[in-house]
Symmetry: C2
Subunit: 190 residues, 2 copies
Amino acid sequence: MNYPGGVKKETKVNSIISHSNRGMTLEADLNITNEYYRDIDKAYIYKKPTPIKITKVDYPSRVEAVIKEAFFTVPSTTDYNGIYKGKYIDFEAKETKSKTSFSLNNIHKHQIEHLKNINRHGGIAFLIVRFTVLNETYLLEITKLLDFINKEDRKSIPISYFKNNAYLIKDNYRPRLDYLKIVDDLIGGI
Amino acid sequence: MNYPGGVKKETKVNSIISHSNRGMTLEADLNITNEYYRDIDKAYIYKKPTPIKITKVDYPSRVEAVIKEAFFTVPSTTDYNGIYKGKYIDFEAKETKSKTSFSLNNIHKHQIEHLKNINRHGGIAFLIVRFTVLNETYLLEITKLLDFINKEDRKSIPISYFKNNAYLIKDNYRPRLDYLKIVDDLIGGI
């Protein structure tokens, strides 16, 4: 159930419906939210395309090019980035079916390294983690993630750590998942 | 010769060798440059993956997933973005074989709209245009591009406009194409 980007969304939708109230994946919620932010000219944040390595292409003509063989590759960065209030925003979004913890295996080491670099250079860097069964979505700053990794030997972050160190993002109609409201607090606190 | 991202690079390399001194595409030069900037911890700027729509996937097991059919899609944003000195950087890079002008057909309307939005929100937005036959590479700020579009009816920007309104990026060994040197001047001038 952990295939990369484009495919994951389509294959997971049905299995999620039984767990959550709305039957939407985190990715779909974020896409709708980011589109809304753009519509009201609040922020310009996009999901990056799924990285693939193309090995075979048929192109009888320019407009008819069809990729005939390609492979999913490991992303070098995170899925989402953009600009808000003149600041560079960068985050990775992940879902887990666990009710008790979030496994660090869900994030690549170089993605953590990337978020660390962004934070050090003055950007706003975080994770958005959804516990699908609980229908709870958290924003966890990269600094809090690093604190955990430095202090703990555990390879998964218990939900209690999220409750105490992350911010719960509330579901809404518009925007669906108003994470920039939390970013406002983070910017204010800098 | 204008196929999207991943393919373009491979098919164009040979045809470029005869024109330029080094036989490298603009994309290859920018990738090397951005890698260098990351290595020296100066800036974190990446090329986004080529956007595609996946329609068929074989996955006998998770690690063996193979995309069997996919199509190139129109990018909603630009190819490159990232962070430098705490600022959001966003640009599109294009090559032309013309010696006299750069056709505006090379850039999608919504990419210009995107760069306009980024600029309005306090980001650094520009085009990098290489005249491959002349082996000249320019950085053109989005504001200068918009000036041209607003004042002129022509559908291509003459090279004289680049000479007078853009910045020539010099070739180097390391970094190969030091466009952040020019960004330093732009930031200084804000």
